[in-house]
């Protein structure tokens, strides 16, 4: 089915999230929408899916104008969408989730899940999905949940499938599998709109790439466009994709975690005998697919998660059992993974947010009162240092963009004298320009001699920053490898393969002189770590 958007605009108040967008998706085409977070890609797709009404413009299917008053209309017209945050009900089975909204029923509205199960098996067999219709969705790994979402769209006869940032939650191997599924779908005549900001995947699978910036279409280009060109189009200026950091000069092991275990309130072991060291002047990146113990690890170090067993020591001082305040006072700088919930008080001003963990000591505290002059001075300085874009430091933190919020959190944490710096997902949802800036700051902290721990689910980021990489899998450290380890090896380790085995498998693939999955674009030309990958192979 041919899909056409003509002059679509979507305004929220006076702000245009989309302005005058034209887009044509041909029959059986994989069309990528490339753009930074907040560029307006998801808004556009929500308009297409009937969740938002366009302020202006027209949607045409096979040349005929259509109007969607809700997702039901869009689905009836043959449009399916896999949302970035899955629209699945965790306590329902796969079959119930897929039946929902289009239930097969017997007399008097009694559910007939047998019909749904049959359909699921059909689609599952055709694409090799291996999905059990009677499994509870909350028990399934994220990759399988995504397949459930795809089945959900296919059961409803989707001719156009929208995939909104589908790879954000996947391991590199799962990503490759998804790309393969996308090619199969295309071969069966389904058109795909693929939303992403990851250049590697976009180039690997797309027929056409449309770049969106600040709600407007910048250009439509082919998949042969180079990563640098795509990045420049996306950001709107020349971007330095490589950090080119100096090699680390690690000193003594200052931070030590030994046999650390965490058990959650349901009694499941979420962190299982984790041990590692971080040396002076070194960045240890903790890689892994989301939900493999990263959150528990950082929270256990900070002291907000009860530790079941093990020890955490910083410069010889035991941190387990100390209060959060004591831990912070012993020299920990901590950037939490969700800045808007745990990093900032969004209704407080930027000034106040910059002293959230410093307010009670000099120079900001004076007896029982606060020295507001110092708070103001501090804010002015930090905002200048970290290039926080705001017109007034008395604005609430919520008024800032994601990247600038993260700069505020980072500025606050780095403004103390640190003995250890931990940042979780330091650049999640941050624009490319700010990513570069934040990365340089993290490296600068390392160069001052501070042990640094970065937790990231973005492999690009891990490879960019790490001097050493610890891979977490199901709550365990599945090996610690050098910072220049290849993407393939890391991907295998993130899926649970041991380090040795992963190196062996990757070597085999390389020596056989073909990539693991047949790809139109060879993996070697990926961004932004071309040089590092080159060195590894």
């Amino acid at each position: 089915m041919k899909l056409e958007l003509r002059g679509i605009s979507k305004a929220f108040g006076s702000f245009y999230a989309n302005k005058d967008i034209d887009l044509v998706v041909d029959d059986a085409e994989i069309h990528c929408l490339l753009g930074e977070n907040g560029a307006g890609k998801s808004t556009l797709m929500n308009v297409l899916y009937g969740l938002y009404q366009p302020t202006e413009g027209q949607i045409l299917l096979d040349g005929k104008p259509v109007e969607f008053n809700g997702p039901g209309d869009a689905m009836a017209a043959g449009i399916g969408m896999v949302h970035q945050h899955f629209m699945l009900i965790p306590v329902f089975t796969v079959a119930e989730n897929i039946a929902l909204g289009a239930e097969a029923t017997k007399a008097a509205g009694v559910l007939d899940l047998q019909v749904t199960r049959k359909k699921i098996r059909e689609i599952s067999d055709r694409y090799g999905f291996d999905v059990d219709p009677d499994a509870l969705v909350e028990d399934l790994p994220v990759g399988v949940q995504q397949r459930v979402e795809i089945i959900k769209a296919l059961v409803r006869d989707a001719k156009v499938l929208i995939l909104d940032e589908p790879t954000a939650v996947l391991t590199p191997q799962e990503t490759d599998e998804l790309l393969e599924i996308m090619r199969q779908l295309k071969a069966n005549g389904t058109s795909i709109v693929f939303i992403s900001h990851k250049l590697r995947e976009v180039r690997a699978v797309s027929d056409v790439i449309t770049v969106i910036r600040r709600g407007q279409v910048i250009d439509s280009v082919g998949a042969e466009t180079s990563t640098t060109e795509l990045a420049n189009l996306m950001v709107g200026r020349a971007v330095e994709l490589n950090l080119n950091k100096e090699p680390a000069t690690p000193g003594a092991a200052r931070f030590q975690v030994r046999e650390l275990s965490v058990v959650n309130e349901l009694g499941a072991t979420t962190l299982d005998a984790v041990s590692f060291d971080i040396h002076e002047g070194e960045i240890l990146a903790v890689a892994g697919v989301q939900g493999n113990g990263q959150t528990e690890l950082t929270e256990a170090i900070l002291g907000t998660q009860p530790v079941a067993a093990g020890s955490i020591s910083l410069d010889g001082t035991e941190l387990v059992g100390k209060s959060v305040k004591q831990v912070l006072r012993s020299g920990l700088g901590f950037v939490p993974e969700d800045r808007s919930v745990h990093g900032l008080v969004s209704q407080f001003t930027i000034e106040e947010n910059l002293v959230l963990d410093l307010y009670d000591r000099p120079p900001f505290a004076k007896g029982i009162s606060m020295n507001l002059g110092e708070v103001k001075k501090n804010a002015t300085k930090q905002i200048a240092d970290f290039d926080v874009r705001t017109d007034n430091q008395l604005n609430p933190a919520s008024s800032l963009s994601g990247g600038n919020q993260q700069k505020v959190v980072m500025a606050r944490e780095l403004s103390r004298d640190l003995k250890l710096f931990i940042a979780s997902q330091p650049t999640r949802g941050v624009d490319v320009g700010s990513i570069e800036f934040l990365h340089r700051r993290i490296v600068a902290e390392r160069d001052k001699g501070t042990p640094v721990m970065i937790v990231s689910t973005e492999l690009d980021e891990v490879m960019e920053l790490a001097d050493r990489i610890a891979v977490l899998y199901k709550g365990r450290v599945n090996g610690i490898v050098p910072g220049n380890t290849s993407r393939e090896v890391l991907g295998l380790m993130m899926a649970g393969v041991s380090a040795e085995e992963a190196f062996a498998q990757a070597d085999f693939a390389t020596s056989a002189n073909e990539p693991v999955e047949a790809q139109p674009v060879p993996l070697e030309t990926t961004e932004p770590t071309d040089t590092q990958e080159g060195e590894a192979q």
Binding site: G70, P71, I89, S498
Partner: protein, 424 residues
């Protein structure tokens, strides 16, 4: 990708000490207070009531001896529980249930053997418990219907009270009990409509609306009671009652006959309603959609389900159910309406919703338990127990608190309950 990590090493975190401690304490209480210090007289429980087709022999227990035996059994259970905990395991559910039954039995033997009359009718204890549970069951079904769709229903008390009042006045004026029954349903629906309107359309905090509604209904019915009903009780407050229908033959079966086959219309409706709500929620398209809306409204919305409309009708339906339950007070149980006739049972019904884990069958069982505790209190006061009646009067509420806090612990309700759904 064949090689994977070895399986998780077990970490020695022992299960909570709660269960073994509770069982140890219960064992001591039964052994010492009920057994050794208990009364040596017998306790007899009769299983037959008047009109039964055949009679069963009474169950007779020697007070002290039986309780020493039960105490030893409970102590064994406690020891078993400690032993399992040392191995990192917990007591299986059946053993917990056996322990609970044993304790209740020991308590009954102790109270009855020490009372002025050493005999109690188990048949009427159970039958009466079911009768007292009727409004609780309807109230809890109202809660289940509403909360499964994502709206907190604190207003059950108001719905029961509104139903009771309206049933009384309509059944008096029309001299037709069925008209009262229908009117009660409408009254419950009206209370619910206010809840639905404010919480769904105007996004007012659902708990606050619920609390305010309870106070409002209490105020209005109290006012109308003094200004209208008491002016002319003959005309306005002498409702015709619903007849009790005994099914010939079946109702003469001892113990279960009166419970299942000798009920008022509302009593039979209760069994039907529990089944229908359960079947509807878990077996039909309607139920799947309702549960989806209560768990993840946005997901439901992306599949073309009208979230707020579903919630609106579910809350209203809940109101009808609770209203009918309220009419039980004035059309079956009590002669006429009095102020605050529902007496906080709406809140007990709410506890039954949680205790029953938002499942109609669970809520039904919980409501029966509370009704049973309520009736036991009444009957024990009659036979004259060693325990002061004030303490006995607390029993239903103590059972509620222990049931909800102790036995259930953290139960997981619908994920989106309490959150209004607003489209961006």
């Amino acid at each position: 990708m064949t090689a994977t990590l070895p399986s998780m090493s077990a970490i020695s975190v022992l299960p909570s000490k709660k269960t073994p401690i509770i069982f140890s304490v219960l064992a001591v209480i039964v052994l010492v207070s009920f057994g050794l210090l208990g009364n040596s007289q017998t306790a007899s429980f009769s299983l037959t009531s008047a009109g039964d087709a055949f009679s069963l022999p009474d169950l007779v227990f020697p007070g002290r001896a039986s309780n020493i035996v039960i105490g030893v059994l409970l102590a064994a259970l406690a020891a078993y529980s400690w032993m399992l905990r040392a191995k990192g395991r917990v007591l299986p559910v059946w053993a917990v249930a056996v322990g609970a039954v044993l304790f209740v039995l020991a308590f009954l033997i102790w109270v009855v053997s020490g009372a002025n009359i050493n005999s109690i009718s188990l048949a009427s204890l159970l039958a009466g418990g079911v009768v007292l549970a009727v409004p609780l069951v309807f109230g809890s079904l109202s809660g289940v219907l509403s909360e499964r769709s994502g709206v907190v229903n604190i207003a059950i008390e108001g719905q029961l009270l509104g139903g009771a009042f309206t049933a009384a006045i309509v059944a008096s004026v029309t001299q037709n009990a069925f008209a009262g029954l229908v009117a009660a349903g409408i009254a419950g629906a009206v209370v619910s409509l206010v809840l639905a309107l404010f919480s769904i359309k105007y996004l007012v905090n659902q708990i606050i609306v619920g609390v305010v509604l309870n106070v409002l209904v209490s105020g209005i019915t109290g006012f109308l009671f003094t200004t209208v009903m008491q002016e002319d009780p003959e005309l306005y407050n002498s409702p015709v009652h619903l007849p009790t229908i005994a099914i010939p033959g079946l109702s003469a079966i001892p113990v279960i006959g009166p419970i299942l086959f000798k009920q008022s219309v509302i009593g039979y409706l209760m069994y039907i309603a529990v089944f229908l709500v359960w079947f509807g929620l878990y077996k039909t398209r309607w139920g799947l959609r309702v549960r989806a809306v209560g768990e993840h409204p946005k997901a439901a919305d992306t599949l073309g389900i009208k979230v707020n409309r579903t919630r609106f009708w579910n809350v209203t339906l809940g109101g009808i159910v609770a209203g009918i339950g309220g009419s039980f007070f004035t059309l079956v149980a009590i002669d006429s309406f009095t102020k605050e006739i529902s007496g906080g049972r709406g809140f007990i019904a709410l506890a039954a919703v949680i205790f029953g884990r938002w499942n109609p069958l669970g809520a039904f069982a919980a409501a029966l338990l509370f009704g049973f505790a309520d009736n036991l209190q009444v009957m024990l006061t009659i036979i004259g127990t060693p325990v002061p009646s004030q303490f006995m009067a607390m029993m239903p509420y103590l059972v509620t608190i222990f049931a909800v806090a102790g036995l259930v612990g953290r139960s997981r309700g619908p994920a989106a309950v309490g959150d209004p759904y607003v489209k961006e």
